[in-house]
């Protein structure tokens, strides 16, 4: 550790009518602030020649010497003739090089933001990304058909593993959330309907809303947060670590090994998860109906069999594969887009979740329009 040999300072004397500044003390990073203050002891406004004597510096390092040097440069710029004593010539040359390179204007510091250009860049990027996504989706479809034609090339092992990780392990939490939301809907519904003495219609309310919308939508949002992010982060980290490049040079297409099994797994498992969410949702709705209204389980089940139309069930479960496909494609797309930095993994993971939830809800709205038009 640097021994502390006293504060840096500058003493002024006069020799031959010209001021001489004697630099003393230790000019090191420990005294950075003091060095800066001490260097200001040489006044900038003066005429003629001055001498700066550095022979008596006890100790110095790069930081300290720079803080002295930058004052000398300032003086020179102000028109003072400076004579240096005891300053090593090779250091001086080097420091002057540094000073010269600092004077070149930093490009991105000075650059002003130009609105039209930014706007143009924004649209160009958005357009390019849309084209990228379409390419990616198209490529995924091609691979899916290819896998159907050549089933032996399909990575079954990765597929099974993904089925387990993304669906089987997600089942408890998906079921629980659907159960709880159904309880909330049933409770709110029964409170309102009681006022009309129509609390038996709580069963209709819960059954239709859970089967058509709630179960599948909640499942999709849960899976987007759980698996969409995991896909982006897993594939992103592999890209960062050049593992995907290693796959390519090993002759394995990362799209087939990493992307396709994930897409297939989610597309196939989502309807099963939605079905499971339907069941726990109906159970939750039933529990609350039995507890808060004058119905019992037998009455609930007989009412359920009157209300329940298979159409509602199929509409709900039928949307699930589309949602699963969207989540998997978006997650994998963002994972493959990770480029060079750890930061981009985080960014793409965030984008994967946000985009997939947005697209799932958009798709749900489109499905609603479609089913209304078809009178289903």
């Amino acid at each position: 550790m640097n021994m502390k040999l006293g504060q840096p300072s500058i003493e002024t004397t006069i020799a031959n009518g010209n001021p001489v500044y004697v630099v003393i003390g230790s000019w090191t990073v420990d005294y950075a602030q003091d060095c800066l203050k001490a260097s200001l002891a040489i006044p900038a406004k003066q005429q003629g020649q001055i001498t700066i004597r550095c022979n008596d510096i006890k100790q110095f390092d790069a930081t300290g010497i720079w803080l002295l040097f930058r004052r000398i440069e300032e003086l020179k710029r102000a028109g003072v003739r400076v004579e240096l004593e005891g300053f090593r010539q090779d250091y001086l040359t080097f420091l002057q090089e540094v000073a010269a390179s600092l004077e070149e204007p930093g490009k991105d510091l000075a650059q002003l933001r130009q609105l039209p250009k930014e706007l143009w860049d924004f649209f160009r990027r958005a357009f390019k990304q849309a084209a990228d996504v379409l390419m990616f989706v198209g490529w995924c479809w091609m691979l899916l058909f290819d896998a159907i034609i050549h089933p032996l090339q399909f990575r079954f092992r990765a597929f099974i593993k993904q089925c387990e990780v993304t669906a089987v392990r997600a089942a408890p939490i998906v079921g629980l959330i659907s159960f709880l939301i159904a309880i909330v809907i049933a409770y709110q519904g029964s409170m309102q309907l009681k006022r009309f003495g129509a609390d038996i219609y709580t069963v209709d309310l819960v059954t239709i809303s859970v089967l058509r919308e709630m179960a599948v939508l909640l499942t999709a949002i849960m899976i987007a947060g759980r698996s969409g992010s995991a896909f982006a982060a897993e594939i992103g980290a592999m890209k960062l670590n050049e593992e995907t490049d290693a796959l390519v040079t090993t002759g394995i297409d990362p799209m087939r090994l990493l992307v396709l099994p994930r897409i297939a797994a989610l597309t196939i498992m989502m309807p099963l998860l939605a079905f499971f969410a339907d069941m726990t949702g109906l159970a939750g709705g039933g529990l609350l109906t039995v507890l808060t209204t004058k119905t019992n389980w037998l009455l609930y089940i007989s009412r359920l069999s009157d209300v329940l139309r298979m159409n509602d069930f199929w509409i709900g479960v039928g949307k699930a594969p589309a949602f699963g496909f969207i989540i998997a494609v978006v997650g994998c797309y963002h994972g493959m887009k990770v480029s060079t930095s750890a930061e981009s993994v985080g960014k793409e993971t965030t984008n994967a979740v946000v985009d997939s939830i947005f697209l799932v809800i958009l798709a749900d709205a489109l499905f609603s329009l479609l089913f209304t038009a078809l009178n289903l």
């Binding site: 990073v29 950075a32 800066l36 930058r70 480029s339 060079t340």
Partner: protein, 256 residues
């Protein structure tokens, strides 16, 4: 005899059943370029991490600048790291910051100076490691392997440390870049009055610039000047320093 800068006593490190260090001693004196060598898995990196306080050893004591690591309070640790520079094997540059911002990070942490002066000091360090000016605003991902090492070295030197740790400084560099990097370290070592501790596999580095060597063998350390260690009769050392690569490296040193 001067006080050692780094002093390790009775260091013991185990991972489960696997013994890495068993009563290992080590002394590094001011102004040395000390190389730590050993076979893979012999615990070079663990030793380095133990000295830096990144790994808590199972037993033994480690002193840096006479202060025992692991028994320091937070402010003392902060103060200690101020005088220590580390170049990690992969550079460990912060990937979300540009090169110049990477070098500025330690400066901002420790120095109460204005933005402009900190930028100047960072540029000074950039120049010291011979990086071109246009590297300043590049991001780590845009740099070549050699430039990453130089940028990492610039960041390690940002606060003018007196003790510099290098983890395999020339690994992953081509021979020309390795030679240039060796020369850079040699020059900086003299100019900045540094004590350098490095983990290395590069025999050229070892013979060209290192003043002393410590070899980790059988969980212990054999240390001495390069010539002393070369004469040690241990079979691993014989193989390591007597192999064809070592002979070539030593001959090239004699030519210089």
């Amino acid at each position: 005899m001067t006080e050692p800068v780094v002093s390790v006593r009775n260091l013991v490190n185990r991972f489960g059943d696997q013994v890495v260090h068993d009563w290992l001693d080590l002394d590094i004196y001011p102004g040395e370029i000390f190389a730590i060598v050993g076979g893979s898995g012999s615990g070079k990196s663990v030793l380095l991490r133990s000295i830096l306080g990144l790994h808590k050893p199972d037993d033994g004591s480690i002193s840096v600048f006479g202060k025992e690591i692991g028994k320091l309070c937070e402010t003392e640790t902060h103060e200690l790291y101020r005088h220590v520079g580390v170049l990690y094997q992969q550079g460990a540059l912060f990937s979300s910051l540009s090169v110049i911002e990477n070098i500025e990070t330690p400066l901002y942490e420790y120095l109460p100076l204005s933005d402009a002066i900190i930028r100047e000091l960072a540029m000074l360090k950039l120049k010291m490691v011979n990086l071109p000016d246009n590297a300043a605003n590049k991001f780590p991902s845009e740099l070549s392997g050699g430039m990453v090492k130089r940028a990492g070295l610039a960041r390690a030197l940002a606060l003018d440390p007196t003790l510099l740790f290098l983890d395999e400084p020339t690994s992953g560099l081509d021979p020309l870049a390795s030679d240039a990097f060796d020369k850079l370290i040699d020059v900086l070592h003299v100019q900045l009055n540094l004590t350098v501790v490095m983990v290395t596999h590069d025999l050229d580095t070892l013979f060209n610039i290192c003043s002393r060597v410590g070899v980790i063998i059988d969980h212990k350390m054999i240390q001495g000047t390069v010539d002393e260690v070369t004469k040690n009769p241990h079979p691993w050392i014989k193989e390591y320093f007597g192999g064809p690569r070592a002979k070539r490296a030593r001959n090239s040193r004699k030519e210089k």
